[in-house]
């Protein structure tokens, strides 16, 4: 089972951009999970995309057209 230390989190400026990114990554078959933003990152309500480390660069390339985003991790 993957530990928390191996996850990276992609944060966007808005829920809409997160949803768009999730759809894009799904179309490119990038394994990911849409989850609430972990409390260690923010106490605000929001969702982000969780990636296993080995898929971070792949996701970064695919998301280049989205605009601004941040990749945080591992926590």
């Amino acid at each position: 089972m993957t530990t928390h230390a191996e996850y990276h989190y992609v944060l966007f400026r808005s829920v809409s951009e997160t949803m768009w990114a999730d759809k894009l990554l799904k179309s490119k078959s990038v394994p990911r999970k849409l989850i609430p933003v972990p409390r260690g990152i923010s106490s605000d309500c929001g969702v982000c995309i969780r990636l296993e480390s080995e898929f971070v660069e792949c996701a970064r390339n695919e998301l280049a057209s989205i605009g601004e985003f941040r990749i945080i991790g591992p926590l």
């Binding site: 829920v15 997160t18 949803m19 999970k33 849409l34 989850i35 609430p36």
Partner: protein, 200 residues
């Protein structure tokens, strides 16, 4: 004393209701059904009532024989089944009646329900039972975005139940990847005996 009930064509939960009523006065009841959902519901009824169930598939239907195994006689239907109620007394029941969370925008609702089931699987507390009906049953298919979280909940011994009528309606009975089939009779019992009901 034996009784035979022809429940072919009867909508859920009629086969269970009629069989349970018959068991109040008969030692053995043979119920004829025509679908697997009804068969599973009758098996679970037998389990709950501490009876023995056997079945035989014939050309004209599935014959389910339920016999009392020497346990205490079944109480009249006016009094709730003590063993079924005892199992759910004090329990927390979650009801999932749609495959999105909230009303308004379904795309947002899908995001919310994914986030919710992730949180439910990763943190405590969790409900004792989650029952899915109407479009909520779609969350139990193998291609659902929340199926992995639901499987985690199942591994934690949280009971996952799906309304059989709804599985039939959406034609996904053969493709659910978690949970067991239930009926309106059991759903009603769960609701009335739960200490807390969370309606998603």
């Amino acid at each position: 004393m034996n009784k035979t009930i022809d429940a072919r064509g009867a909508a859920c939960p009629q086969p269970v209701i009629e069989t349970k009523k018959a068991l109040e006065t008969c030692d053995t009841v043979i119920t004829i059904v025509d679908n697997d959902t009804a068969l599973e519901n009758l098996r679970r009824l037998a389990d709950n009532l501490n009876c023995i169930a056997t079945c035989a598939t014939n050309n004209d239907g599935i014959y389910v024989t339920i016999s009392k195994s020497g346990a205490s006689p079944v109480a009249p239907s006016a009094v709730q089944d003590a063993s079924a109620v005892k199992k759910t007394e004090g329990a927390t029941l979650m009801v999932v009646s749609q495959d999105v969370m909230g009303k308004g925008d379904d795309a947002l609702g899908q995001v919310l329900i994914r986030a919710f089931f992730h949180t439910l699987a990763e943190t405590d507390p969790a409900p004792d039972t989650i029952v899915f009906f109407n479009s909520g049953v779609n969350l139990l298919t193998g291609i659902s975005d929340v199926i992995e979280d639901i499987k985690i909940l199942e591994e934690k011994n949280i009971k996952i139940l799906a309304c059989g009528t709804c599985l039939d309606y959406y034609r996904i009975k053969d493709v659910i990847a978690a949970g067991t089939v239930t009926n309106m009779y059991e759903i009603k019992e769960l609701m009335f005996s739960a200490r807390k009901i969370i309606n998603l």
